[in-house]
């Protein structure tokens, strides 16, 4: 470990995903969500045309952007960017205007039906603070997800995110996400 503050990031290798939705269930359980609410989801994407055709499961969630549109548009400062890279929400200050939901290209935010504030993936901040990994990462049976500190040059995520195969999705929207994908 280095002395520098961590910069949390995640790598999602879609070539390994079998679409079991264990990450979705783990997230649901960890964050005690109500039934219609999700912080992560598994989309199905199609590539190419028959016979050169491919279909992939594609896990999606908050990308914890370095230039998050949701933080910029929030009128009360409820959405903010932490120094460790996590995009967080101060639920006490959220008035539920839903401007951030509309500003998010990844459709990662939703309204808490019980209390009315907007919430989303927090990289399981409470688990990270206990030196554990986010629930979706530990649950995944095929090791699709790799979570770690980008400021630590020896971490697996630093090595993997620098590889040629990884991409950040929606990068040309000037968001610079902290989630890296291997689409393959």
């Amino acid at each position: 470990m280095t002395d520098k503050k961590p910069k949390w990031a995640m790598l999602i290798d879609t070539t390994k995903c079998v679409g079991c939705l264990a990450c979705v269930a783990a997230c649901h359980n960890q964050n005690e969500l109500l039934v219609p609410e999700f912080f992560n989801r598994v989309e199905e994407r199609e590539f190419g045309h028959f016979p050169n055709y491919n279909r992939r499961f594609f896990p999606m969630q908050c990308q914890h952007c370095d230039r998050p549109p949701c933080v910029g548009v929030c009128p009360t400062g409820a959405s903010y960017k932490r120094s460790d890279g996590i995009v967080a929400i101060d639920t006490q200050r959220c008035i539920g205007c839903k401007y951030c939901i509309l500003s998010c290209p990844y459709n990662a935010r939703s309204v808490n039906k019980e209390h009315g504030y907007v919430h989303k993936c927090s990289f399981c901040t409470s688990l990270i603070e206990k030196n554990e990994q986010p629930a979706c990462v530990t649950t995944c049976p095929t090791r699709v997800r790799v979570f770690g500190d980008l400021n630590d040059p020896n971490s697996e995520i630093s090595r993997l995110s620098a590889s040629k195969k990884t991409v950040q999705i929606g990068k040309d929207l000037n968001t610079n996400p902290s989630i890296y994908y291997i689409i393959g």
Binding site: L102, P105, N107, I169
Partner: protein
């Protein structure tokens, strides 16, 4: 998924009508307060009320309406909504002062310099309100239908048209506009010419702007083109072509041209009434389409 419902459409429309009415009224006041007195008064009487209704609706659209005051304890220059909340607050206050200023008896007894300053401030603030409704949507890169340079201009022009139409409507319903000065053919003609000239110029600009919006979106990225197809050929297409383009622009434009070209001194309030109602309906419809279809449009990520 639709997060912003018809309440936001109503809010954007009401803010547009208020800003437009205030802008037209103050402009008419600066050009010639005696000749266009009816327009000045009608605009001043309309301006404060739609936006107040809009603000109430806006608060109830929040998921936590009781926390709305947080908007007014924060200022974030990067958030259009935060800047806008402050602008509409100052605009509403100014529009109320301007309303009292134009009542028959001068209750405020302001010096000419002060009332002039209020008018200049009102002009600036109403311009900001009319621009802000479009910028609120156009700054979101995630929504390709909104994220175009033409949208704020389109909604700005539409706001001024709506304000002018609301004034025209009030003058049809109350031709004396709550004043006891005698109704002469000359005053009616002066005010009508002002309204029709304004309508003609603005509706023509709106037509050009709509054309630029459509062509620009169609020739832009794949996300923009698929977003455009939602309004031009998707489920909003009839509303868009009939409700907005035909009823909201073309018919009022023909009516304004007809009134300007024929130079008949006889007053035709029914034509004004129909044209103004259609322009207002078109203004509401275009906002409804943009708010709803914009939320259905998605940036293609990879």
């Amino acid at each position: 998924m639709i997060h912003w419902t018809y309440l936001i459409t109503f809010y954007l429309f009401s803010a547009g009508v208020s800003a437009g009415a205030m802008m037209v009224s103050i402009a008419a006041d600066f050009i010639n307060p005696v000749k266009y007195g009816k327009i000045v008064r009608a605009g001043a009487y309309i301006a404060p009320f739609p936006i107040m209704a809009g603000m109430v609706v806006l608060i109830f659209d929040l998921e936590r309406p009781l926390l709305f005051w947080l908007l007014l304890t924060t200022f974030k220059y990067k958030s259009i909504m935060s800047v806008g909340a402050w602008i509409i607050t100052f605009f509403s206050a100014t529009s109320i002062i301007y309303f009292i200023l134009n009542l028959r008896k001068d209750y405020l007894k302001l010096k000419p310099g002060t009332s002039r300053a209020i008018k200049i401030m009102g002009l600036i603030l109403s311009t900001c309100v009319a621009l802000y409704t479009g910028l609120l949507l156009s700054t979101l890169t995630a929504r390709p239908l909104w994220n175009t340079q033409a949208l704020p201009v389109l909604l700005f022009i539409s706001s001024v048209i709506d304000g002018l139409a609301a004034i025209a409507l009030l003058l049809c319903l109350r031709p004396d506009c709550f004043s006891q000065s005698p109704q002469t053919d000359e005053t009616i003609n002066n005010n009508n010419t002002f309204i029709h000239t304004g309508d003609f110029v603005l509706l023509f600009s709106l037509l050009i702007c709509t054309l630029v919006f459509l062509i620009g979106m169609g020739s832009s990225t794949g996300s923009a083109a698929s977003a455009l197809s939602i309004i031009t050929s998707g489920k909003f297409s009839v509303l868009f072509w009939v409700g907005f383009v035909a009823a909201g622009i073309v018919i009022p434009l023909i009516a304004a041209s007809y009134e300007l070209c024929t130079k008949v001194t006889t007053h035709r309030p029914w034509l004004n009434f129909i044209a103004a109602s259609l322009a207002l309906t078109g203004g509401y419809i275009v906002r409804g389409i943009i708010v709803n279809a914009g939320q259905l449009s998605r940036a293609i990520l990879f």
